[in-house]
Amino acid sequence: MFGFSLRPRKASASTAKERLQILLAHERSGSGGARPDCLPQLQREILEVIRRHMQIGDEAIDIRMERGDELSSLEINIEFPGKLGMN
């Protein structure tokens, strides 16, 4: 039933190594200034700036991150009511 036992055992170990290298490089260096600890502050500051122009709640912001080997991405979504109160 389980005829896969000879399939890539080596491949899974090298995937593990790659994943660790990428993660640990980020954890050690806080690369690109994007240390996890700076994100709450970043979030507060973004909210502050946006609030100068629009009325939005604390939950209106959603920050997503994807750490990569050579490139990381930060995705920031701001939701606001359809008829928003532009100042």
């Binding site: 389980f2 005829g3 899974s12 994943r19 996890p36």
Partner: protein, 282 residues
């Protein structure tokens, strides 16, 4: 507690995965049980309580996507919604990672309770992945549990620690302290079960473990190469290729949600005479 007049959605169930001893398979179990519940369509979140030694994110394969964590939510730096990481394979599955930089004192009883109450509204199952030991982190993970999966290896120190943990579940948890509340419903999950080492007497038999612990058996997870492979890949073992461990976790989850499934000890097929003879219990 609930109001009689209003039809309310049932609240989610909090299940702690705990063991006392380290290295027995708590995080593997949390990931597998969470993923299997989600695969069956139940909205499930798995929370890492091992503050300072974050690992659930690695096992679930979302380590590169952590932005905010459990501690940020407790301390008000992020909303719960902002810290939850939605699994890319199953939309019913989420992970709440813990902090890698703080320590366990950041977990407050009030903070944990608030987060769990919010999660109960949103999810059917909340799986709390406990740290090893019986200190603060482990106590916080079990405190608000409705049920507990006590992960045990068929080996003396693990069984002894499990017994200690069962004692704590019955004495220091929220349910233990509330007059009239049902006690935490405990299940024993035997992991790293090695048939050949049991048959030659090196490892304790399942019935011996259960006799000592005197709690119902949720399942028997065989020692399996599939578990290491799944960790390497960051895939809960039930979502990777079929394996004996995956089958065993699927059965365990079925029992957890009340299905009657006969206890069986699955084994991966490997070359070798013994395996040929005994490996067909699948």
């Amino acid at each position: 507690m609930s109001k009689d007049l209003k039809l309310e959605e049932p609240l989610g169930k909090v299940i702690v995965v705990t063991s006392g001893k380290g290295g027995v398979g708590k995080t593997t179990t949390s990931a597998a049980v969470g993923a299997e519940l989600a695969r069956r369509g139940h909205k499930t979140v798995v929370i890492d309580f091992d503050v300072g030694l974050r690992n659930l994110d690695m096992i679930m394969g979302c380590e590169r996507r952590v932005v905010f964590d459990f501690i940020n939510v407790i301390q008000g730096d992020a909303k719960l919604k902002q810290a939850l990481i939605r699994d890319r394979r199953l939309e019913t599955l989420s992970v709440l990672p813990t902090s890698q930089t703080r320590d366990k004192d950041a977990l407050t009883k009030d903070g944990v309770q608030k987060v769990l109450e919010e999660l109960r509204q949103e999810f059917d199952y909340i799986i709390c992945d406990s740290p090893a030991g019986i200190e603060r982190g482990a106590q916080m993970a079990m405190h608000f549990a409705d049920e507990a999966i006590v992960v045990t290896n068929p080996e003396v120190s693990s069984v002894r620690d499990s017994d200690r943990v069962l004692g704590l579940l019955n004495s220091i948890t929220d349910r233990a302290g509330k007059a009239g509340a049902e006690p935490v419903k405990a299940h024993v999950l035997i992991t790293r079960h090695d048939k050949s080492r049991i048959s030659n007497g090196e490892m304790m038999k399942v019935e011996d473990v259960l006799e000592v612990l005197a709690e119902p058996l949720l399942g028997i997870i065989p020692e399996s190469k599939a578990v290491l492979r799944a960790s390497n890949l960051g895939v809960p073992v039930v979502l990777d290729d079929p394996s004996a461990a995956a089958t065993a976790y699927e059965d365990a989850v079925g029992r957890l949600i009340g299905e009657q499934i006969e206890m069986r000890i699955a084994a991966d097929r490997r070359p070798g005479l013994l395996q040929r003879l005994f490996g067909r219990a699948v």
